[in-house]
């Protein structure tokens, strides 16, 4: 006769049959059952079983084992499963309470260098007060969501590492990212919630407001912010600045000539021309403005005075506009690297796409943005933000006869020096299908994390990049599925399909939460009409309908390790593996396309960027399956479909093998090439890699090479052990005299190190022929 049981904490408490009955009844009830009597009978059988086993004072664990066994023996397999789920859920809750407090303890008392969680996101400083505060919130929210928000089956899959639900801390709060239409936002001005900003009137205010827009929107979402057509958006600012500068120069010139009331004469003339023809003084002098201007001014001031003032104004305005644009772009890069969002702990994740506007104003924006990036920050440091994406397009900038070919060349040079821009390829068939000349909103764009949003199954007539973004994404642990399949490829595909099914269900659950939010929950994103069609909603409307323009996305990680586990070789090693790899990724894409058709929503597939994730999956798998050669024998899984980073392969072969996966991953992708040495010394090779990406059908690519900097002498380039400029080793001191001799000593003292960007040697560097 059982009278007492042992609780988990070791205490002995009186036995209550009712508690077992209740647990069984709850599990049955979850499946629609309502037979309390049967639950009682089963509970009695549990007790009989325990007594038969001679367990006079059983533990809670032993009782639960007995319940599972009894349920299965009586043919209640589904109830047993529900009970197991309930039981593991309770176990997790208990473990989590302990785990969360342990995490808080580590956050509180350990430095980032000793604490992986604090370094989960490389762009948040985990050692600052606000960075730590963000982490407390984030870790607490994650645990809460796992325990109380997620369906138990999703929570378990995430906790076990079958899948990874990204940005789980924001699960109940917001969506990932957005591509901002600055032209639309600026028209008639906008409000940040802290004040109204008038429509900007110069390139300086255009660029300043661009930063504010990015910062404001970042506070409403958990991912990055992208401007898909930055050159087109800023071109209008250049045009407005030109108008003002030209007007002021004309006034100055006429005043110098002693003409009375020059100010009101010029102002009224410009206004009149604009009212009658819509024309402004512009970088393109042949736009028709000056003919009309001459017609009005010559009768008043004479032909000679007009001609003189005109020549003067054109000459100086052309010079000034270039300088103003450069300063605006310099300030923008500076702002995007120093401004903070999210309680001051994080710099906004910004991406700018550009390179295709062929107007003189748009070209001026692109050129000066590249030049400002090339120059670097105040002390010549490489700017970390924004992510630059140069859009490559035949007929626009790809071939020598194209109008923006010079800018493509410049983009290659700057990327060889500063790692940005990356390159996107609008001629890749899957991007080209949306491209309409003269409609920048149809030019495929990328967001820093590689996200791509163009197609719109919810409303195909709105297949545009602007005002849209990703809602959420969840990644599948491919190597795990492969290990579990034990070399059986058919079984692998069965499991993969089941896993995709599970993730689709989870994305839907999350979408339901997102859809129930109101416009007022996103004062900038929705309140200022950034998100497509949100301008048609009122503050208390829910955002569900307009969110349907966004994407629900499945990702994957470790295709290489998956292939190795399945067939012994990854896709860099064998053509058969490459084919299998394409089948695997194609299988996921096909299922998502079906789901899109079925629901009218946008289900898409992404090649997951795996910052926090690449270690977590492999850690769990190593624990579960041990060290498997080529699979779990490293501390990370390879990103998405990439060829493993330590596999020797030529740049061209890597590009050729990875390109077909770009076509399949419609929610985003990127390929990297690691170049040896200083690419600045071989720009032709650099460009040939970019061109090969385009020819192979890559959608988005980037070239990595070492960019080192000595903050003491300001040298930027490759530094092995010894700085090639000042000769010091890391941590060593160098004499001020030597720095002076090198011409790099400016205002150095013990506390302010680093100064220059224009040392003789850098100026002397001769780039390869362009």
């Amino acid at each position: 006769m059982i009278t007492q049981i042992v609780k988990r904490d070791g205490r002995t408490v009186p036995f209550e049959l009712d508690k077992i009955t209740e647990a069984i009844y709850k599990a049955a009830k979850a499946l629609g059952g309502s037979d309390r009597r049967m639950a009682e009978d089963l509970a009695k059988q549990v007790v009989a079983y325990l007594e038969e086993k001679n367990l006079q004072t059983p533990t809670v664990e032993q009782i639960q084992d007995a319940v599972e066994r009894t349920l299965i023996e009586n043919g209640h397999a589904r109830t047993a499963k529900e009970f197991i789920l309930y039981r593991s859920g309770r176990t997790r809750v208990r473990e989590m309470n302990t785990r969360l407090m342990k995490i808080y303890e580590d956050l509180t008392f350990r430095d980032a260098k000793d604490n992986d969680i604090k370094r989960e996101n490389a762009n948040i400083d985990g050692d600052t007060a606000m960075g730590t505060m963000l982490k407390y919130g984030s870790e607490g929210a994650k645990q809460f969501d796992e325990m109380f928000i997620l369906k138990p089956v999703h929570s378990k899959a995430h906790a076990d590492g079958d899948i990874h639900i990204h940005d789980l801390d924001f699960y109940t709060l917001t969506t990932t990212c957005c591509q901002i239409d600055l032209t639309k936002l600026f028209t008639d001005g906008f409000s940040t919630g802290h004040g109204f900003l008038r429509e900007p009137n110069s390139i300086q205010s255009y660029s300043a407001l661009a930063c504010i827009a990015i910062q404001s929107n970042q506070n409403d979402q958990h991912g990055g912010q992208s401007v898909p057509s930055f050159d087109y958006d800023m071109a209008k600012g250049v045009a407005k600045s030109y108008r003002t500068l030209y007007r002021n120069n004309m006034i100055k010139a006429l005043e110098f000539e002693g003409i009375e009331d020059a100010d009101s004469l010029i102002r009224s003339t410009l206004e009149k021309v604009e009212a009658e023809t819509g024309l402004w003084p512009a970088l393109n002098a042949d736009n028709g403005f000056h003919a009309k201007e001459a017609e009005l001014l010559i009768p008043v001031i004479g032909e000679e005075a007009y001609k003189k003032a005109y020549d003067f104004s054109r000459k100086f305005t052309d010079k000034e506009i270039d300088r103003h644009t450069y300063q605006a772009m310099e300030a923008l890069v500076h702002n995007l690297n120093t401004m903070h969002s999210r309680a001051g702990a994080q710099i906004p994740f910004s991406s700018l796409n550009y390179g295709t506007d062929t107007s003189p104003e748009g070209r001026m924006v692109t050129r000066n943005l590249l030049l400002a990036t090339e120059a670097g920050l105040g002390n010549g440091e490489t700017a970390i933000f924004p992510i630059h994406i140069f859009k490559v397009k035949e007929g626009v900038n790809y071939n020598p006869e194209d109008p923006n070919y010079d800018l493509f060349k410049l983009a290659c040079k700057v990327s060889a020096e500063r790692l940005f821009p990356n390159f996107s390829f609008l001629d890749a068939p899957y991007n080209l299908q949306y491209y309409k000349p003269g409609h920048p909103e149809t030019e495929a764009a990328y967001m820093g994390c590689r996200t791509r949003v163009v197609a719109n199954n919810f409303d195909p007539s709105r297949s545009v990049v602007t005002g849209r973004g990703n809602l959420s994404f969840t990644s599948i642990n491919l190597p795990r599925l492969a290990i579990k399949s034990n070399h059986n490829v058919d079984f692998f595909f069965e499991q993969l399909e089941r896993e995709v099914e599970l993730v689709i269900d989870q994305l839907n659950e999350r979408f339901k939460l997102q859809a129930g939010k109101k416009v007022r929950n996103y004062p900038f994103l929705m309140g200022q009409g950034i998100w497509i069609d949100s301008d048609k909603l009122s503050p208390d409307d829910t955002v569900g309908e307009v969110l349907k323009h966004g994407t629900l996305t499945v990702g994957f990680i470790g295709l290489a390790e998956c292939l190795t586990a399945l067939v012994g070789k990854h896709h860099g090693e064998s053509a058969a593996s490459q084919n299998l790899g394409l089948d695997i990724v194609g299988c996921m894409r096909k299922r998502l396309d079906e789901e899109s058709r079925r629901t009218g929503l946008n289900y898409t597939l992404i090649a997951t960027p795996a910052e926090g994730l690449s270690g977590r999956f492999v850690r769990l798998d190593k624990k579960k399956y041990g060290v498997i050669e080529g699979v779990t024998d490293k501390d990370y899984y390879t990103n998405s479909f990439h060829i493993p980073v330590r596999f020797p392969i030529s740049a061209y072969e890597k590009i050729r093998l990875e390109a077909p996966y770009h076509a399949l991953t419609n929610a985003g992708h990127i390929s990297y090439i690691e170049l040896d040495g200083d690419p600045v010394k071989n720009l032709d090779a650099f460009e040939s890699v970019v061109r090969y990406m385009k020819e192979c059908g890559i959608g988005y690519g980037s070239i990595n090479h070492p960019v080192d900097r000595d903050p003491v002498c300001g040298y930027t380039g490759i530094i092995d052990d010894v700085c090639p400029r000042c000769g010091r080793r890391e941590g060593e001191a160098v004499s001020v005299e030597k720095l002076k001799k090198l011409g790099v000593y400016k205002h150095l003292n013990a506390s302010t190190l680093g100064c220059c960007g224009n040392a003789d040697e850098e100026a002397d560097r001769i780039p390869n022929t362009l």
């Binding site: 490389a122 690449s614 980073v645 740049a651 170049l675 003491v712 941590g731 160098v734 001020v736």
Partner: protein
């Protein structure tokens, strides 16, 4: 041999090494998580010797 009167600077100042990680540039390896640090250390360079003719 060192003259004590020579003014020196830079003692203890390291080099900055900018690397790209999942699309973002990071100024030092300190802020990478352990797995990503391991990945960066494993990266091999991709040669340009073969395949040029395909262009």
């Amino acid at each position: 041999m060192k003259n004590e009167n020579i003014e020196m600077v830079g003692q203890g100042v390291g080099f900055e090494r900018i690397r790209r990680i999942t699309g973002y540039l990071v100024g030092t390896l300190d802020r990478f998580n352990d797995a990503k640090r391991a990945e960066v250390n494993d990266r091999v360079k991709h040669g340009l010797d073969s395949g040029m003719e395909r262009l």
